[in-house]
Amino acid sequence: MAVTDGTGTESAKTSARRPNRLFKNLTAKTASIPMIFTALVVFIGCTGWTIYHSFTKSRLLPAPDKWVGLDQYERLWSTRRWLVSIENLAIYGICSLILSLVIGFTLAALLDRKIRGEGIFRTIFLYPFALSFIVTGLVWQWVLNPQFGIQSVVQRWGWESFTFDPLNNADIVIYGILIAGIWQGSGFIMVIMLAGLRGIDEDIWKATRVEGIPTWKTYIVVIIPMMRPVFVTALVLIAAGIIKVYDLVVAQTSGGPGIASEVPAKYVIEKMFQSQNLGQGFAASTMMLVSVLVVLIPWAYLEFGGKRRD
């Protein structure tokens, strides 16, 4: 709360006139033009454009004059592939959220135990984050390939009945994608958690040690609640990634077997570009946006609206 615009009355009854409010902090406002432009024109504007066109029969090119009302939405919600996509996103989203946080935090906590070779372990956990989802999907497609991946190796070790073919089994394929997604992203979450842990006052540890609270309990009861902002940051990053998951699925399974690993972003993109049905793609992306807003607005309100006063 460095500088606040007063909501003043007009009674500054002096010769020194109150400067026009529009020009107050003029430099700051000028410097924020790119941000304001991005927020209003790109994000709001393009979103509005997208939503508008979701009510049209746009095919290959946007057709603002072919208004069809809710037709695209009716079709969307009667399409099995979309329903499967939503279900998959829910499973992937929840699991990925929980696992990323749990794995990220656990690894960070382990690294924070003043161990040897912290730098090496940290690098090992973090490096997948440098690789794109395309690469991630491709590599894990290999590793999980039943003919020459993990399954065949374990079988060759003598455990003949061992089956682990998530990418070829429609019931569990989404978990196969999850394995790859976690691999790529959890290192980053680990780093964020580690940074958060490093910010915890040493005295807290001393206090709990004196009181004889077991380490694991300290983490759960004391440390995690203290790291709330860290978890929030991690949550935003993970959630943004989940909504956008596309490349990974394309590279790893192309949505298969069948439509078992389809995700909404893939539906949107394929409808837009492959099927040349922009209206349908826009309707689907509008639904994605709506779901994001439903989750995000209450959070944003709590996070930014609730604590004006620092």
Binding site: L60, P146, A170, A260, S275, N277
Partner: protein, 409 residues
């Protein structure tokens, strides 16, 4: 003679517009070895005219290349020529006035007379004007059978679909996958289309796909097609590869009995040094209805505001259809030429079979030509689910299919 005239006419036409050397950026998605070699023929031919071919290859058709091509065109920064499956894909771009009218080139080259089948040119034509240059013909209606697999199973190589289905048990007993199938949507949908034509016949296919007759799509004849597809699904149950060429590889190595795939599969057999008739058999129209669809690739020329470039674009259009380029390109690509007036003596057995059918006029339009991308997409979604979920009954799938056809525009 006719041929010579056409070529010179085409080139002369362009030369008339005071040609200065231009760099032409051409976008396409031909990136594998054979494809790239074929494209190189185009490039060589263009470079020989004094212009320069700037190659804009982007692998992965459809999802990957199309948004790039379309964005470039609507963003006001179009490439000078681009590959698009001809057919209905470009209609809107033409309506929006974004593509160059090359009717003059076509007339000068006499395309109307030489392009065979004429449907290829029809697909390029909107309101009597021609907007694209077709370059090749690809057909879907083939099944590829492995001699090794049948030897191992101790049964003769079948000569039609029914025999093939009958042999499935023997193949399975020998530990073979009767039908190799990749799990991608376009493969499921394509294989279904092939079965549709073979089992249901051309007439039914046209009724549904051209006339969009939903009643026919839900009718008893089509039910047979779906039954056949369900049978094929059972035969492919153990095939768990993703890519089509992995599936082809199963046939090549004798792990699978056969695969329903377009004529591009031939390239894989060639690379594996297999000989048609000795190591593998190809049956057009599944050996039942010997027809082939005549889809293919075509090049479009986005409008530019530069007269020199436009002249060069037209020159390129003429060049692509010229006989020399057609021969050299299609031999490398393994596809059939779009001109009926040239001879491909060096083609292999399967290719020759295709040429014969083509010459006999036993042809179909391709899905691209008759169905919108949206409808194709919906059918793909349906088929990929149907093929991969054994509990999805043929009747349910048919009902859904009829619904899609009914909604098609």
């Amino acid at each position: 003679m006719n041929l010579m005239k056409a070529t010179t006419a085409g080139i002369a036409f362009c030369a008339a517009g005071a040609v200065s050397a231009a760099e032409l950026e051409v976008t396409h998605w031909w990136t594998s070895g054979g494809e790239a070699a074929a494209v190189a023929e185009f490039a060589k031919a263009l470079d020989a005219t004094g212009h320069t071919w700037v190659d804009g290859a982007i692998a992965g058709s459809g999802g990957t290349a199309r948004p790039i091509i379309i964005s470039r065109i609507i963003g006001g920064d179009p490439m000078h020529a681009t590959q698009l499956n001809h057919g209905r894909q470009a209609e809107e771009l033409i309506e929006a006035g974004l593509l160059l009218d090359i009717t003059a080139v076509a007339e000068a080259g006499g395309w109307k007379d030489i392009i065979n089948p004429s449907s290829l040119l029809d697909s390029c034509t909107v309101d009597g004007k021609i907007y694209c240059a077709p370059v090749n013909i690809h057909s879907w209606q083939w099944i590829w059978l492995s001699h090794k697999a049948y030897e191992d199973a101790g049964v003769p190589v079948p000569s039609n679909w029914d025999e093939y289905v009958a042999s499935a048990g023997a193949l399975e007993a020998a530990g073979k996958i009767p039908l190799a199938m990749g799990q991608q949507a376009w493969q499921s949908s394509g294989a279904f289309g092939v079965i549709n034509v073979a089992v249901g016949g051309v007439e039914l296919w046209n009724k549904i796909n051209v006339q969009k007759d939903a009643e026919a799509a839900g009718g008893p004849e089509m039910a047979k097609v779906f039954e056949a597809a369900a049978a094929a699904r059972a035969m492919a149950a153990n095939s768990n590869v993703q890519d089509w060429n992995q599936a082809t590889n199963l046939v090549i190595t004798g792990q699978a009995g056969g695969q329903i795939m377009g004529d591009w599969a031939q390239g894989e057999f060639q690379v594996a040094e297999q000989v048609a008739g000795e190591d593998y058999t190809c049956l057009p129209g599944l050996g039942v209805n010997e027809v082939i669809s005549t889809g293919g690739d075509a090049f479009y020329f986005p409008k530019q505001d530069d007269a020199d470039i436009e002249a060069a674009q037209k020159e390129l259009a003429a060049l692509l259809v010229s006989p020399e380029v057609q021969v050299s390109f299609n031999l490398k690509k393994g596809s059939l030429p779009v001109r009926g007036d040239i001879d491909l003596s060096s083609a292999n057995d399967c290719m020759k079979k295709g040429l014969e059918i083509l010459a006999a006029g036993n042809i179909l339009l391709s899905g691209d030509q008759v169905l919108s991308a949206d409808t194709s997409g919906q059918i793909e979604d349906l088929m990929v689910e149907f093929w991969n979920d054994a509990s999805y009954s043929a009747a349910d799938a048919q009902a859904k299919y009829a619904e899609i056809i009914g909604d098609a525009d």
